[in-house]
Subunit: 388 residues, 2 copies
């Protein structure tokens, strides 16, 4: 059995090294994802970590955690006297997850801790999480295997006359029966999504407020993304990009389905997506610049004159891939201006997609693990368009 | 057809009145729920509202919104010159949703807007939303009708030997087929939930980090709430508290199911829950103090000596009801120390529940609309324990 505790000790040491590098006195971790990453569980409270020593877990809820690091508290104002009683200094320069913690919680904590300088630790934590351990990478591989099993069921779930949403609901059920946790974690404000996205026909052109690769109108103005009840009719393509959350560390995979016969231009654009994915796969390894991968894709798209349809029409995403892990949008991001470099142990999804007016979205998305000498494709699932 | 635009104009006027009352110069709205409430759609950007006049929508995404109030921007730093060009003053005292907006987004906006004083507007917006219009109340009524239809299917979805999770997955599918939007909106940090909660047997005793009425271990340490894969066996109760999100404005309802024969104590505790709900229903109207309702419940529980099992065992929730609407945890909250008063137009859920070791959770949750002269029960669905 894998030594989870040792994993977490190593993660903690990496965080402590960053505290020192950022010339801070301590960090406070409050987000569920980073609490899980560092502790193995989620709680309502504050994980306080100094550059040396064990973490202190100031916990409001739940009661009765069996962990000797836990100190039960009702409110953050109690923390300073608890630290003083333990002979520990109050931090003057404090790192916190300023991209996730609310303004009111952050300012309350700052006042409670006697007004330390606050420094945003969110990006650094995401950077640390971007390079995965062997255990974490294996979680992503395992998730991808289940993801494939579920996608292979799609033809058997399809019935003539269905809407995109009706098919999605049957896929959601299979996802849950195959162990999907349900909620689909992404980083950032206003990045809402349910269990993934299905785009049929011209719904793929609908611009969304969210920063995902493609949009879709959704079924409610409260969640404008993905399937909108489009009836699946011959000549239409269906892009399936449902969550790969079968383990805490997720994979990401999209596949395209055709409703009976589709125009040749859709098959050509789909093949271009496959060619781009394979070109990226062939030319990447630890040390590759992420911007170069975007430019490689862009060049191939322009050579075929397909740029008006690349990553959307009315609104075009300016990335073709992203890191994956505990959240679906981790570093690095494959954008034209990225300064990020692929590192061994990163996991990335590559998704050059096209949106064809009157037809729908085409293309594939694969997930890869970055190795010293190349990319390992973990989404080994039919890449050609599957006719329903 | 209902005049949605007029609804939103009235909401905006109420918000503008609050801006004046709070002696502020303007407010900025950034959360999806409040954007939807005020505009009817969600966007990535800032809704700026002065005490008089129309809202200004500074929108990053999506492109091409058909609304004359929209001003497309790339970043908040562009707002001041746009305001000056329009002859509008920069606010000195600015209201924002400090409980929802991240520390980094809030401080970036503050700097972009040339350092206004920031005041937390989150609570006031929740207070305004707590009193619903006739249209909003009707949405909640409609949601409750669908909620009932789905719950009435549960006996037909049950198969002997199922786990709580397997049954939940079939309920989730029916929820989606009946129009559930999927994501289940709650207010506050660390309040994660998927499509609701099912608690079978002693899993109802598991303490959760989240501030819901009951807990449950969940199927992953990343989401410690609700069903955990407990096999449904004779003598066990199953509390079903799945989302009523069939409209943007939600209802809330829990019902208890028994796996074949259950001990008498479970039936007695369940009847006590029904009696408490009915006592609250009978004694409430506009003007009733929320704390009085908690004390009424507490007294009935103590008279029966059931307080060790009330609202949990290892961790007991200190509320027995809450407002409902666009989020599942709106004001008012029925707590012992609440200063809130029921107002006509509020919608509340009442959920006095018991957790019985070795058996499971029992009790009901109904949703009510507060009228001048009483409560209107909108969850007209069998209240007795249903034997599976």
């Amino acid at each position: 059995m894998h030594d989870q505790k040792n994993e977490r000790t190593l993660r903690q040491k990496r965080v402590q090294h960053s505290i020192t590098t950022l010339q801070a006195d301590a960090c406070v971790i409050t987000s569920p994802v980073n609490q899980f990453w560092l502790c193995g569980f989620v709680f309502d409270g504050y994980l306080l970590l100094y550059p040396e020593g064990e973490a202190l877990l100031f916990v409001r809820r739940p009661a009765g955690i069996a962990d000797e690091r836990v100190i039960e508290i009702r409110k953050p104002e109690l923390i300073p006297s608890l630290l003083r009683n333990a002979g520990l200094p109050l931090p003057h320069r404090l790192l916190l997850e300023a991209d996730q913690l609310s303004f009111s919680s952050a300012t309350r904590l700052q006042a409670a801790m006697e007004m330390p300088e606050l420094v945003n630790f969110s990006w650094e934590l995401r950077r640390l999480r971007a390079v995965k351990s062997a255990y974490e990478l294996n979680q992503i591989r395992e998730s991808a295997l289940v993801h494939r099993q579920v996608y292979e069921l799609i033809p058997s779930l399809y019935r003539k006359g269905m809407t995109d949403l009706e098919l999605q609901i049957e896929i959601e059920r299979e996802m849950r029966l195959h162990g999907s946790i349900g909620i689909f974690r992404s980083f950032g404000e206003n990045m809402e999504i349910f269990m993934g996205s299905m785009l049929a026909g011209d719904n793929a052109q609908a611009a969304s407020p969210f920063d995902y690769a493609l949009g879709g109108r959704g079924i409610s103005p409260l969640l404008p993304l993905g399937a909108n009840g489009t009836k699946l009719v011959p000549g239409m393509t269906l892009m399936v990009d449902m969550a790969g959350n079968y383990r805490p560390w997720m994979d990401d995979m999209s596949r395209t389905f055709a409703i009976e016969e589709i125009p040749n231009v859709a098959r050509e654009a789909h093949q271009l997506s496959i060619d781009i994915v394979h070109a990226i796969e062939q030319s990447s390894r630890a040390g590759t610049r992420c911007a170069d991968l975007y430019h490689l894709a862009e060049k191939m798209v322009e050579e075929k004159g397909m740029h008006p349809y690349f990553m959307g029409t009315t609104q075009q995403a300016k990335f073709i891939g992203h890191g994956i892990g505990l959240e679906i949008n981790e570093p690095p991001v494959l954008t034209p201006r990225s300064k990020e470099i692929l590192e061994a142990g990163m996991a990335i999804a590559v998704e050059p997609k096209f949106v064809l007016p009157g037809i729908g979205a085409v293309g594939i998305e694969n997930s890869y693990i970055v190795q010293e000498n190349g990319l390992e494709n973990i989404t080994l699932c039919e890449e050609q368009i599957i006719v329903l």
